[in-house]
């Protein structure tokens, strides 16, 4: 049992620390909370101005999200979209990232693939949706292909850049200690390349979601996009907004659960650890 004196001292310590902790929390969470509050206020104001038929209130949208999450079909749509984005990111990571590694190291491959990457990057995502619908029909595969072909060049260019901007002096250091090419790549180059790819993966993920929803909407293949197509057909603005909110929430959750920890783990040293 702690004595009265130690309890009093601990209380005094907490009393001193609480305002500091509160101020820190306010500084950290205050500005983002203010931003969200302003956004919701503007939304609510627009709702009052235009009415519920054009723009439901944030509360109505929240209820629609809840309704979607309460149904098996809602979860199935979410799962379909997230699964496709995950699979397509994996595929484009393998192909785009793999080609990026090769092109980063080999001048000839880089020079050969540069115009291809430029052409693919310049192609509008909607054009790919139309083309893949014609080629493969409205199917799961066509959406996967669309996401991969849009996201792949971004991962390719990010990987090439990561390879080219790595600190080669560290590899020279390793070579002086007799490290083989593979050891230098594995222990030094790959580490730097992956740490540079964190932000690129974040962008690829966001773009992947946008393309997935757009492709699902156009092809009407099960997913959040197809739900939005249904909402459009029924003029169900609540459902449309609920799906948008779910897509955004899903993106934020994945970014904070996967991308940010990945960036923190591999790229903390770049931001300085002092």
């Amino acid at each position: 049992m702690p004595s009265d004196a130690s309890l009093t001292a601990r209380r005094a310590e907490w009393a001193e620390m609480l305002p500091i902790l509160a101020a820190r929390a306010a500084l950290r969470f205050g500005p983002p909370a203010l931003g969200i509050a302003l956004f919701l206020a503007a939304w609510q104001a627009a709702h009052w101005h235009y009415g519920a038929f054009i723009l439901p209130s944030p509360w109505q949208a929240l209820l629609a999200v809840w309704a979607t999450l309460s149904s098996a079909s809602g979860w199935a749509a979410l799962g379909a979209t997230f699964g496709r984005v995950g699979l397509a990111l994996g595929l484009s990571g393998l192909i785009g990232g793999g080609l990026g590694l090769v092109a980063g190291y080999l001048w000839f491959a880089r020079a050969t693939l540069a115009p291809v990457a430029t052409i693919l990057l310049g192609m509008p995502a909607t054009a790919w949706v139309i083309l893949t619908m014609i080629w493969f029909g409205p199917s799961h595969g066509s959406i996967l292909f669309t996401i991969s072909i849009v996201v792949g060049p971004i991962l390719y260019i990010g990987t090439v850049d990561a390879v080219l901007t790595r600190d080669r002096r560290l590899e020279d250091m390793a070579a002086s200690f007799g490290a083989s090419w593979w050891a230098r790549f594995r222990s030094i180059a790959l580490r730097q390349i992956l740490s540079s790819l964190g932000p690129v993966f974040g962008i690829a993920l966001a773009l992947g979601f946008k393309v997935a929803i757009m492709a699902e909407l156009v092809t009407n293949v099960a997913g959040l996009g197809a739900q939005m197509a249904r909402a459009r057909a029924h003029m169900d603005i609540d459902l449309a907004l609920a799906n948008v909110a779910l897509a955004v929430a899903g993106l934020v959750i994945i970014e904070h659960l996967v991308i940010r920890p990945f960036q923190t783990r591999l790229g903390a040293w770049k931001r300085g650890a002092a």
């Binding site: 002096r169 560290l170 020279d172 002086s176 200690f177 007799g178 050891a183 222990s187 040293w269 300085g272």
Partner: protein, 262 residues
């Protein structure tokens, strides 16, 4: 035996010859300082001696099993702790974990690194501590020969002197030979048995100067007198009266490494 012979070494980068039939013999246990103006190819020669760059022509005869290398700007892995940086060369082999830990600890002790600093990242260490980590990393392989490529150029004079003292004490206790690249004639005179002077355009070694006595046993007055006299030696004319406009290649391109630099 810890000697090194570089025989008629020639090397070019992007068609531009930076080393032209350079020969240098370092006898076992001898610490040779290599001086020369910027852009003359000293670092390229060090890279060739260290096995980083394969020369276009010439032969390298290493009379030792293992060498260590200490670089300009230290080249520490920024994501790894000081301990992991020191251990890095050992992780490239197949040594047992316990042996790696033991040798890392011994190398850190040899350069007087504090145990609490071993868990810090390079960004959390001062310049002097980073230099100590880089030296410990070179020592951890138990080298018979050490190559220093201007390792203390970025340090302030007091810290540089402390690092020189560290090299002197390690060379005395371990008896390794080595090649010490430097711009600083005073540093060369303090640390080396012999000072080799490189041609301004990398066309060989112009000659050697031998400071009196042995490294570590020279007095400050002896070093001062030697450097004052040496400044008037025709061998060091280009080093003392360097005109950077005459340098063919920019040697401040160290960020890209040896292969893309002179």
């Amino acid at each position: 035996m810890s000697g090194l012979t570089l025989a008629t070494i020639s090397h070019s980068f992007s068609g531009q010859r930076v080393l032209d039939t350079v020969s240098l013999v370092i006898r076992p246990g001898e610490l040779v300082a290599l001086v020369g103006p910027s852009g003359c190819g000293k670092s390229t020669l060090a890279a060739i001696a260290g096995g980083i760059v394969k020369p276009d022509q010439g032969r390298i005869l290493r009379q030792y099993q293992r060498h260590g290398m200490v670089f300009q700007q230290w080249r520490l892995l920024p994501w790894a702790s000081a301990r992991d940086n020191i251990a890095y060369p050992l992780t490239l082999g197949k040594l047992p974990r316990a042996q790696i830990t033991e040798r890392t600890k011994a190398a850190a002790q040899a350069v007087a690194l504090l145990p609490e600093d071993l868990d810090k990242l390079p960004a959390q260490l001062s310049g002097g501590m980073r230099a100590r980590v880089a030296i410990a990393r070179a020592l951890v392989v138990e080298p018979e020969f050490l190559i220093f490529d201007e390792p203390f150029a970025a340090l302030d004079p007091a810290l540089r002197r402390r690092m020189q003292d560290l090299v002197l004490s390690l060379a005395k206790s371990r008896g390794f030979g080595g090649l010490f690249i430097t711009h600083d004639l005073y540093e060369a005179a303090r640390l080396s048995h012999r000072i080799a002077v490189m041609d301004r355009q990398g066309k060989g070694i112009l000659g050697s100067l031998v400071p009196p006595g042995t490294p570590g046993a020279r007095s400050e007055a002896q070093i001062f007198d030697f450097t004052q006299d040496a400044r008037n030696d025709p061998l060091l004319h280009d080093l003392v009266n360097v005109d950077e406009r005459a340098i063919a290649l920019d040697c401040a391109c160290d960020t890209l490494g040896f292969q893309r630099c002179c």
